[in-house]
Amino acid sequence: MSEEKQPVKSITTPTRLVYQWAATGTQAAFLNRIARGELIGQRCPECRNVYCPHSGNCPRCGVATTETVDVQDRGTIITFCIVRVPSENIDLKLPYCAANILLDGSDMPFTALLDECEPADVRAGMRVEAVWRPKEEWSNTFENIRYFRPTGEPDVPVEKLGAWV
């Protein structure tokens, strides 16, 4: 027994879940294609929206997506976040920009890293393109794209971003 010890006020309960994620058939098709440097999406048969990356169903209509379409590796920034706080497991130099990008040919933005651009210069409507890793490093993973960078094209006017802003 120790006189100096403080009474116990809290306990730490570690929670840890290890699980395996298995790609569905349509997700596997996406991974097969990205290994060749190509992006594909799937179109909803009802609302005609294209999703990339796709989950195999339309989140709006709740129906399976079956039609596969090509999606470009360039697009438009919808929203973005300049990250200035470090986070465990994210090994990026601060500050960095996480951008919500609407790829040409897709109707659903997704989040990707933006680089080769000062944080103060990022804006909604900015045109960006994928910077791919060297071809010999490609595998079946989204990490084949290192990041996106500005193309230098004129911005898309914010009013033309429609419902996204």
Binding site: M1, S2, K5, P7, V8, K9, S10, I11, T12, T13, P14, T15, R16, L17, V18, Y19, Q20, W21, A22, A23, G25, Q27, A28, A29, L31, N32, R33, A35, R36, T68, N140
Partner: protein, 153 residues
């Protein structure tokens, strides 16, 4: 290369250290484990003694506090048990063991802990067990490494 379905599986880990404050009653329980190798319970109306101690009577909701704490055990009897043949990573023991509800001496409720009985055939309801204390105690339930049969060498 074709678009034919191809099996992709990756392993993901979600891990989170959750820190919770224990309050006055469980605070005393964990402090007693750490400093005095004592197990505390709560004396509740009707002659019940509940382990671990509680801040409210689970039957009536009536408030109970640090004045109602009593020492129990350290030995007790296995009430019910389940044998674990293949311990998992976060189980308290690396070899087969039993999870048991242990009725500690002086308590009326079961206290869940591991019993290091060596083999399943030694486990039985009513068996006497005693705690095996960790040498470096920090104020958590693992300060009791496990319980072991009282007739163990």
């Amino acid at each position: 290369m074709s678009d034919a379905p191809h099996s992709y599986v990756t392993e993901h880990v979600v891990a989170y250290d959750y820190r919770r404050s224990v309050g006055p009653v469980l605070g005393r329980f964990f402090t007693a484990l750490r400093d005095d190798k004592q197990i505390l319970g709560t004396r509740a109306p009707g002659g019940r003694v509940l382990v671990p101690p509680v801040e409210a009577d689970p039957e009536s909701g009536e408030g109970l506090g640090t004045d109602d704490l009593v020492e129990v055990g350290p030995g007790g009897r296995v009430a019910t048990w389940a044998w674990v043949n293949e311990p998992r990573e976060q189980h308290p023991l690396r070899r087969p063991f039993g999870w048991a509800l242990i009725q500690l001496d002086g308590a009326t409720s079961g206290f869940l802990h591991a019993v290091d009985a060596g083999e399943e055939s030694r486990m039985h309801s009513g068996m006497r067990v005693r705690p095996r204390w960790r040498s470096e105690r920090v104020g958590e339930i693992q300060d009791i490494e496990c319980f072991e049969p009282e007739d163990a060498a």
